[in-house]
Amino acid sequence: MAVKILTEHINEPGINTFEVYRKKGGYTAVEKALKKMTPEEIVEEVKKSGVRGRGGAGFPMGMKWSFLAKPEGVPRYLVCNADESEPGTFKDHYLMREIPHLLIEGMIVSSYALGANKSFIYVRGELMYVVKILEKAIEEAKAAGFLGKNILGSGYDLELVVQPGGGAYICGEETALLESLEGKRGNPRNKPPFPAVKGLYQSPTVVNNVESISNTPWIINNGGEAYAALGIGRSTGTKLISASGHINKPGVYEIPLGISVEDFIYADEWCGGIRPGHHLKAVVAGGSSVPILPANLILNLANGDKRLMTYESLSDGGFATGTMLGSGGFIVMDETTCIVRNTWTFARFYHHESCGQCSPCREGTGWMDKVLERIENGKGNMRDIDLLVDVAKKIEGNTICPLGDAAAWPVAAAIRHFRDEFEWHVTHPHEATKPGAVYPGAMELV
């Protein structure tokens, strides 16, 4: 069995309580960190682990921590990004719901490492029931002396606040999240200054994803080198993958980085294969914003080697033949899927979620939504397909935050790999608009 860093005890009855979590070795990282380690030593271990941001960007966490400014007399903040909203992604939801103390323990050791005395967990507002689960876990940890004043007699104080959002995908972008946490609209900030210098309340701030922070207790207990020994190359450790779509076993899986995509889809240990009687058509491997790949390209690299579940292998070939690991939102589609319709639902999502601050994104996402709806409904023309590519190009790289790119990439990739399907909608509007209609042309299925 592969090493489980986050989910080893997740099926243990009562693991959501302090008592059971503690019995299973929980909070030993807090004891070790506060009694035996300096904050600098913890930062060093996290650096050595090579763990990369699990929210989607994949930026090395230790390096992000080391950028934190430390001016005298100014408070520093750690903010956990639990605004999980990228379509296809539900791992943080699962982790917080099932084993809330893991995140709390991670928040304590990470806050200590960064010198923060008040830290926040910003949870998307729709998950209000998870807010309550976390608040209960915080109360339990506080009662046991792991939070509050002078934790374990170390002289270190920490208060944790759980903050609900209000329903806005954009608040998963870290500067929009900080604006939201300050009680404002979630409009991303111009950078620089980066949050590490001027973040929450204009103070130095680190924003990390739930899964990233949840890795820190293991790293403290076992050492950064042990973590780095797992995985392949710069893809160290394990990754939670949210698997959805036309597979036998949808759910959240903690995989060792480095297994093959083929194993992940077909092995019983993971997705258990495509649902009976159907075949793999395409996969969106890292949440709705990453390029969709047809079956042959998600399973194999352009040179024929097997594609692996790592940051590097998934992006091998660039956007021409590759994609990204992103948030690990792995959406599997069989031959019953209309790529045009699926692309339209994604475009509609980004149109709905654009904050409206930058015109390329505000206008462009609206155009892509409208043009795709037109094509899907049999009212498009051939020029519309090129228009979509053109609009996507004009959004990409021209916005304050990455939402613009996230909106542009899925549309551009769907046309890149499935242009025939878009053209068929234009040339065969009558057939294409029948309920459940799917392009009947030659498709490479697996």
Partner: protein, 165 residues
Amino acid sequence: MSNIAEKIAFTPERFAKAQEIIARYPEGKQKSALLPLLHLAQEQYGWVSEEVMDYVASLLNILPIEVYEVATFYTMFHLEPVGNHVIEYCRTGPCCLMGGEDVYAHLKQKLGIDTGETTPDGKFTLKEVECLAACGWGPVFQIREKYYMNLTNQKVDEIIEELSK
């Protein structure tokens, strides 16, 4: 639904909760309590009227416009009266792959209303929302804090009948 003449104020329990929330943030940063307080207000009144927003502004000592601009930005706040049960139905890709659109059509037929409408008896309001972070358990909808997952036509019938009692 609130009566216009009724004085807007939190119940004593919610007022105490609001004070506890406001005290969480550093001195001078009380505006951070805005989203939590709007949730608390919506929990009490079902929706967030202008009067409710003005009340929240007064609690935080900020301008009403600072509340309006926030309440209108985030999708969870109902700015018009809604039914007893607001069904927020996910319409994003992964749920659609699992047959979410067909189940939604069934739900609309069952309730006899379209997106954005409220049943004549005031029991149900139907809204379409974007991804609820439950893609592996789709199709999915939410009523207040509760997630209803792996929906089928039959399951939808059972839920609606249960809530109609």
